[in-house]
Amino acid sequence: MTYRKTYRTLLAAASMLMVVQTAPVQADEFSDEDLARWQQEYLSVVGQGDKLFHGGLSSKNTVSCDQCHPNAANTHPETYPKFQRQLGRVVALWEMINWCIQNPLESELLAADDPRMIALQAYIVEERRGAVLEPGKH
């Protein structure tokens, strides 16, 4: 839920900036207003992912992601791609999410570009923001 607070802080900062910078910015292709709006767009997807992560996938056996991963902890998105021995190869985060959907959740796989898969990744990475990229780490 802290990402929502972040979002509010960002919006406040952005609006303050706009008061100061009365003249339109010429050189840049996007403005602070754009930045704030895009952040909002992103966080709307994070919010969808949050819901999916907390039961919104309506898995066939009622199990949800947060049961093992409160606040998406212990998902380590910063370590992908990495070798996952039970998938037999180096995989991206979404493939591991699918493993969880298929196994503990006993449900149908999502396509890589399924909006739900994008949203789940957005939520998981958002909860891990600030972590240093460590691809391959176990």
Partner: protein, 368 residues
């Protein structure tokens, strides 16, 4: 051609501590205290096939690990001297060099340790101890010459350790990869597997969950995790009597009973699996994951040889560790075993895929 290959194998062994590895396999691990030499391998080969090391003079290593049968005996459980049977299925020697523990319950840490046991097991070689075996060797001029050449020992100094080292060295040359799967997965030959086999591979690493234990990696595949799991085989024999069986076993063990003898002669105690070795109660009925390489040639399956075909094996897993869907489930069942919901077609594809794990050059072992 065959001879060339054999020579290549021998000399890679001599050259360094690691042999060249076939496609899909890592280099063979060679223990530092038992380096490969051509003479040692040849000596091991001879010892492996010598039937004099048994009570009736008819049982050699190769009786249960026959080269013509992919180094198995294709029997449910092995036949020892005088036709006596034990409790366990003979695993293949092919690629045993990669195993981190030996025997179904991992009671020996290496091939050297493993090779010492069968000659003196009462349902295998049937010798009272290693003395008669060593006596045969010490009286045999060819052996005496060979042991002197390989280990630099005189006849009366030949020990069971020397015998075991030679046999293990020979077994470390029995390595086979380069299967259609290896060529498909590791060499990029997309025609090496059929469409059904390619679908089967997806089941193997996905819905079938096989790869959880029968590992495939990015550059190599041993098809075993070298771990122990209770998959539900054989548990009916001790169902409801697990505590008594465990207690009886431990009482006997405390009184000095040999684990190797006990698990091969007592039907019920055999089913304790890894527990018999570690006495860890989370390992009751757990057995080592076997490799699946050449699995199409190593029937029947499971530690007790109770499943005759790969189709039966797939059905067993698809039923969540049960022969029939109506069978009870073992309380000790590994968490990874659950009904899989595979369709008839998916099961067929999975079997087809396992047929793609057969190495093409197995005959080289039979043409001696």
């Amino acid at each position: 051609m065959m001879i060339k290959l054999a020579i290549a194998l021998l000399f890679t062994g001599v050259a360094g501590s690691l042999s060249a590895a076939p496609l899909g396999l890592p280099p063979v691990p060679i223990p530092e205290n038992n380096p490969q030499t051509a003479a040692k391998i040849a000596l091991g080969d001879k010892l492996f096939h010598d039937a004099r090391f048994s009570a009736d003079g008819k049982v050699s290593c190769s009786t249960c690990h026959s080269q013509a049968k992919a180094f198995t005996d294709n029997l449910p459980v092995s036949k020892g001297f005088n036709g006596l049977t034990g409790t366990r299925n003979a695993p293949t020697v092919i690629n045993a060099a990669y195993m981190k523990t030996l025997f179904w319950d991992g009671r020996e840490p290496d091939l050297e340790g493993q090779s010492k046991q069968p000659p003196i097991n009462p349902v295998e070689g049937g010798l009272p101890d290693h003395k008669p075996l060593l006596a045969v060797i010490r009286k045999d001029r060819d052996y005496v010459r060979a042991f002197r050449g390989v280990f630099g020992v005189a006849a009366d100094a030949i020990s069971m350790d020397h015998v075991a080292m030679a046999i293990a060295s020979f077994e470390r040359t029995i390595v086979a990869g380069d299967s259609p799967f290896d060529r498909y997965y590791y060499a990029g030959d997309k025609k090496a597997m059929t469409a059904a086999q390619i679908r089967g591979l997806a089941i193997f690493t996905g819905k079938g969950r096989c790869v959880s234990c029968h590992t495939i990696e990015q550059t190599q595949a041993l098809f075993t995790d070298n771990r122990f799991h209770n998959i539900g085989i054989g548990f009916k024999k001790i169902h409801g009597r697990e505590a008594q069986t465990a207690e009886q076993f431990l009482r006997a063990k405390r009184k000095g009973a040999d684990v190797d003898v006990t698990v091969l002669t007592k039907q019920t105690m055999s089913e304790l699996g890894r527990f018999a070795v570690t006495e860890n109660i989370t390992q009751v009925g757990a057995f080592k994951t076997p490799t699946l390489r050449n699995v199409d040639k190593t029937e029947p399956y499971m530690h007790d040889g109770s499943l005759a075909t790969l189709e039966e094996v797939v059905d067993f897993y698809n039923n969540g560790g049960r022969v029939k869907e109506t069978d009870p489930v073992s309380g000790f069942l590994s968490g990874g075993i659950r009904p899989l919901g595979l369709s008839k077609g998916e099961k067929k594809d999975l079997v087809k895929y396992m047929e793609a794990l057969t190495s093409p050059d197995l005959e080289r072992f039979t043409k001696r």
